[in-house]
């Protein structure tokens, strides 16, 4: 950083960008950046970049962009002022100087920060502290309602329970046999099995009667007392006494 620009090695890789190089050149000119000559700085930069042999083109590109911009600034500063052009070359020069000052300020600030008494390097905390501990203690909560509701639940859960099974009306097979054979004796022609069922509105009882009567019809057919006829599956089932 503090080396003479004339003796700089021809290598751009040591610089952190064009602004870094510009700042080094400016500092070699004057300590106070406010007093530097922008024109001289531009000359220094252009001369440096011209003789620098960049190893990497992509690194050199930034320096060349800055060189082009500085060349423009130099010509604008030297040529008669064109009042149409905004901002003015002096304004641009001032901005460049301000940028160098900002970077310079931050570079100094970084150095001053690092030179402070740093914890763990210059000053030390206690190496083996006892440590502080936080012990979590539960504060149990419950309401009187929770308590009595819980007891109610236990009681309800464990109270003796009686299971009562209601009598369901059914027609036994014997009853069905007797009824179907009786009705069959009074019947001359084919009749559906439904016509043998008792006249009832009780659905479950009717189902029971149908099942028992069907089994009874099969039994009568086996004994040769009845004939059964059905056109197709699920078609009406007809019964007739054997002749």
């Amino acid at each position: 950083m503090d080396s003479d620009p004339d003796t700089l090695t021809l290598d751009l890789e040591g610089w952190e960008g064009p602004l870094d190089l510009l700042l080094a050149l400016a500092r070699s000119q004057k300590v106070d950046l406010k007093q530097i000559s922008i024109l001289a700085l531009v000359e220094q930069y252009l001369a440096y970049v011209e003789q620098a042999h960049a190893l990497k083109l992509e690194v050199a590109a930034d320096y060349l962009v800055m060189a082009a911009w500085l060349a423009y600034l130099k010509s604008a500063l030297l040529l008669p002022r064109d009042p149409e052009v905004e901002p003015s070359p002096e304004e641009l020069a001032l901005r460049l100087q301000m940028r160098l000052e900002r970077l310079n300020a931050m570079r100094d600030a970084g150095a001053r920060l690092l030179a402070r008494d740093r914890l763990g390097r210059d000053v030390f905390r206690r190496a083996a502290p006892e440590g502080l501990r936080t012990v979590r203690k539960a504060m149990w909560q419950a309401e009187i309602y929770d308590l009595i509701a819980a007891y109610g639940q236990i009681n309800a859960r464990n109270r003796p329970v009686f299971h009562v099974v209601h009598d369901r009306p059914v027609m036994t097979l014997d009853a069905a046999l007797e009824r179907v054979s009786q009705l069959l004796g009074m019947q001359v022609d084919w009749a559906t099995i439904e016509s043998f069922l008792p006249d009832t509105l009780d659905g479950p009882f009717r189902k029971s009667a149908l099942a028992s009567s069907f089994v009874a019809a099969l039994e009568l057919a086996r004994m040769g007392k009845a004939e059964l006829r059905q056109q197709s599956p699920f078609a009406p089932l007809y019964l007739k006494a054997t002749a």
Partner: protein
């Protein structure tokens, strides 16, 4: 290396920053061989006497430590509100209605086993306590509720607990919830089995 009037400061800093107790020789390695470390240690010990930090010597090695009577401050208790589990509140209810009652009796009434932790929670909360042994085979421990229990639940005495008829009148014996309660119990038995 160190001026005499700075020596006690230097020894103090070295001991403070050290990660283990230091012998006088080890201290000297930091502050200089030609120093009267012993005198500096005495001066420091005097300076800290009666403060929150003290300088102590154990087996010829010196270190700072927090004053013994301040140890309780290093451990901070933080209270966290927690709701009682279903098992705990039922167990508490059974103790309250039937005390003194043994663990086996609680399980018989609940119809479900209780984990060891359930009674611990009630005792930690200060609502139940052991109360002597029942003079039956095995001499099982019995449990009763505490005065804190009455205070917490706003009861003058256990007679203030609503009776079964009151519970029924309040709809708290309504079997409608039974199916759900049974499901909850089944889950709880599983989790308690895991805890044990």
């Amino acid at each position: 290396m160190i001026e005499p009037d700075n020596l006690s400061r230097a020894v103090e800093a070295v001991l403070f920053a050290a990660d283990e107790p230091l012998s006088i020789e080890a201290i000297r390695a930091h502050v200089g061989e030609e120093t009267d470390v012993r005198a500096a240690l005495d001066e420091i010990a005097g300076f800290y006497a009666g403060r929150g930090i003290e300088l102590v010597c154990r087996g010829g090695r010196w270190h700072f430590q927090t004053a013994g009577d301040m140890a309780h401050l290093l451990r901070r208790e933080r209270e966290e509100a927690r709701k009682l589990s279903r098992a705990a509140i039922e167990t508490l209810a059974i103790i309250a209605y039937h005390e003194p009652v043994t663990r086996a009796e609680i399980e018989a009434i609940r119809g479900v086993q209780i984990s060891r932790g359930t009674l611990d929670v009630l005792m930690e909360a200060g609502w139940a306590r052991p109360a002597g042994r029942r003079e039956t085979p095995g001499r099982p421990l019995t449990y009763v509720t505490t005065p804190d229990f009455l205070t917490h639940f706003g009861l003058a005495s256990r007679r203030d607990l609503p009776g079964i008829d009151d519970l029924r009148a309040a709809g708290l014996l309504d079997p409608v919830d039974l199916a759900m309660a049974d499901m909850a119990i089944a889950e709880e038995v599983e989790t308690e089995a895991e805890e044990d």
